[in-house]
Assembly symmetry: C2
Homo-oligomer: 437 residues x 2
């Protein structure tokens, strides 16, 4: 039996406590699988006095995670502090620099500083594993980094934020408003007190930035992501989508195009009969399309203590199975100096189908004016629905258009034209349609 | 740059040719990802003269795969011959014994002799990778063996045979008979000339046997699998399933119960709204339920040259990234001598819901007699439908029952009772219902 793998864990919140619990209760089985024991030798958290239901009496305690990373006798530093800057970053840099492997669940840190950290890991010959940082317990990092070797992905997309998917699922299933569902999500602990980061798509964007780098071999570029949240999605959109055979999901999409790589996060219509449309509630899913394999879809729990702990422990076990002197492939799939610069494809050149919902005065000539604006921008229409606005005694109508493939540029120009014509009584709604099997 | 990884490939059929093509066309990218070149140095196939569209002029040719395994200067032996016995088995044993790593797509070999091979691999300190053996390009082996370390699965189930799923998908979508769909599948190359092995569930059983061992840490036991194929599924079943909110899929299911582990392959009703019900055509899918993570589902191409090649190359790349002296965890997740004996749970004790379709004489008292048989076996019914047999001028009726959770024993006893009562005009149809999210 080889020497134990010594672990230091920084951060004992929901995930950290779950990791400690699983490593303790599954110690014998993990030893069997890894060929050596995994021992927690040091921990760090803000409040030493708090009762976490864990017996940490035999473990060295550090008030400061950076001190743990620098001083503790560990083989692996597990970072579960969170945040792109401050203690998390400093501690991870310290751990890597001290020659420790690092396991982290911190997507914000990787989206902002992943390449810097990968460079240190490469130089030091240690592993930087981060399965838990994207889509929780779904093994998408390992799949992209290891299983799909030799494949060239053409598109990666997914439901990467459980809060948004929970809200959209309940809006559709129960006919509730966005605000009602958000309040429920907050009450149930699926959304933060300040939900902006989730519902405006920033969390999805961090995860997408990591997937993009792995899939396309490009340098991480989290700032170059087109972002639209779900707070303006209404029951009118959800019902119209259902009528047309679509369901609305917040997707992160990275796609190779002729001008570069699109990275976009926005509410998206996916066919109701597609696999990803059946991914409900807080569940996450990621789809990868490649030249060799075709389309692969993974779905599962995307957040929560246990699901995240599962991914963290998978990462730790991989290190335990490795032996000194071994490096299991580069952090982002290729050595940092071989990652190519990220070449952004502008959202204006995005090609795809669009759902357009217009609320207009119920007057003669309005429909003709809308049709004219579409035609003059070469937008061909797949379906057109005109109906009275529900439960509304006024002189308003709703016009719903679904376009064949066109461009963002054409759609924006057409919708600006309709707006300028003065027929709209409310802000126009535009939702992109995404192919999905 | 480390030394090249030298590969010998035995078997140059569809998969073998695809592996050679990808290794050749993606050589630069694979070198980038693995940190060393992957070089094909030897191949073996039955017919040297056949034009495969490959340039193999620089490669050593062996007519005999066993000779390749024994004599060629290789680091990795890639077995793509197929079959549980004969050349494939002998060559893999020779390769492992000679200290070569082995990559294989051969589920029959592993189902029959996996433990023997794993023991040799362990003794020799070499890797035996077999991602392509189960569900083609879906990374389910890596997920169970690596990502889910520390998780205890409670159930693994999946659509593991593309031929069956293609047939069932077309039967449902187009209202065609089993025979018509099978003939089409043969014409399109999705089914063999002798399709027995696929449609009677044997192929699914081989794959399930491997998944069971990985998931539950048990010794492979491919003979102890309950087997039912899809050849007796009719349009009447498919239409009744659809009416009741179900879709019929051939599933392989391994499940921990109080009496042991069930391994069963049979047509199964899954809820139409479940993710796995949207897995159409030749696509495969595997779902794993565990104590820590919850439910994970993977779906993707389960067969075909490229999808299988993708998995084979992922396995080769893992070896290329490793360094001499390193072993990446045991072949079946635990060392062979720590795998526990497989404790079979008998199909009679299977607990679950059942769909029962009875064709009966249209006589007074028949329905009461059927109801009595259910009641005396403590079978509680979720739904009951009685209707005339479609397009049938005779005095027949169909009775369709969906049970709440009961046991196989109770259902068989009840159906035997109904049969003994003499009301049936055709063989009764019984299809198990499987929970699926």
């Amino acid at each position: 039996m080889a020497d134990p793998l010594r672990i230091g864990i920084a951060g004992l919140g929901t995930v950290g406590a779950a990791v400690v619990k699983v490593l303790t209760t599954k110690a014998a089985e993990l030893t069997r699988q890894c060929g050596r024991p995994i021992e927690i030798t040091a921990v760090s958290a803000r409040d030493r006095a708090r009762d976490r239901g864990l017996d940490l009496s035999a473990v060295q305690w550090f008030d400061n995670p950076v001190a743990l990373a620098r001083e503790a006798e560990i083989d692996v530093f597990v970072e579960l502090i969170g945040g792109a800057e401050g203690a998390a970053r400093e501690a991870v840099i310290s751990a890597l620099s001290a020659g420790s492997h690092v396991v982290t669940a911190n997507k914000a840190l990787l989206a902002a500083h992943g390449l810097e950290l990968a460079e240190i890991a490469e130089r030091q010959g240690v592993l930087l594993n981060y399965e838990a940082a994207v889509a929780g317990g779904i093994p998408v990092i390992k799949t992209l980094r290891e299983s799909l070797a030799g494949n060239a992905p053409t598109r990666v997309f997914g439901i990467l934020n459980g809060t948004c998917n929970y809200i959209l699922t309940r809006m559709e299933a129960e006919g509730l408003s966005f605000d009602e569902c958000l309040a429920d999500a907050q009450r149930l602990g699926f959304a933060e007190a300040d939900p902006t980061f989730d519902i405006e798509g920033n969390d999805t964007a961090h995860k997408l930035a990591i997937l993009t780098s792995l899939a396309f071999g490009t340098r991480i570029s989290a700032e170059d992501i087109y972002l639209e949240g779900i707070s303006n999605i209404t029951q009118a959109d959800i019902r119209a989508a259902a009528d047309l055979g679509y369901r609305i999901k917040l997707l992160g999409v990275a796609q190779r195009t002729t001008t570069g790589i699109e990275q976009r996060v926005h509410p998206t219509m996916v066919p109701t009969a597609s696999v990803i449309a059946q991914v409900h509630g807080v569940t996450n899913a990621v789809s990868v399309e490649t030249d060799i394999l075709g389309e692969l879809l993974l779905s599962g729990p995307g957040a929560g203590g246990n699901a995240t702990a599962s991914a963290v422990i998978g990462d730790i076990a991989d290190i335990a199975k490795s032996r000194p002197g071994f490096q299991h492939g580069p952090v982002f799939g290729r050595p940092v100096n071989e990652l190519t610069p990220y070449q952004q494809a502008e959202i204006q050149s995005h090609a795809g189908g669009y759902f357009i919902r217009l609320t207009v005065h119920d007057r003669i000539g309005v429909f003709a004016a809308v049709a004219k604006r579409m035609a003059e921008n070469d937008i061909s229409l797949e379906s057109i629905v005109q109906r009275a606005v529900d439960g509304n005694g006024t002189d308003e109508k709703t016009i719903i258009l679904v376009t064949h493939e066109t461009t963002e540029f054409a759609v924006r120009k057409a919708v600006d034209g309709v707006t300028a014509d003065g027929h709209l009584t409310a802000k126009p709604q535009v939702i992109r349609i995404e192919r999905a099997a």
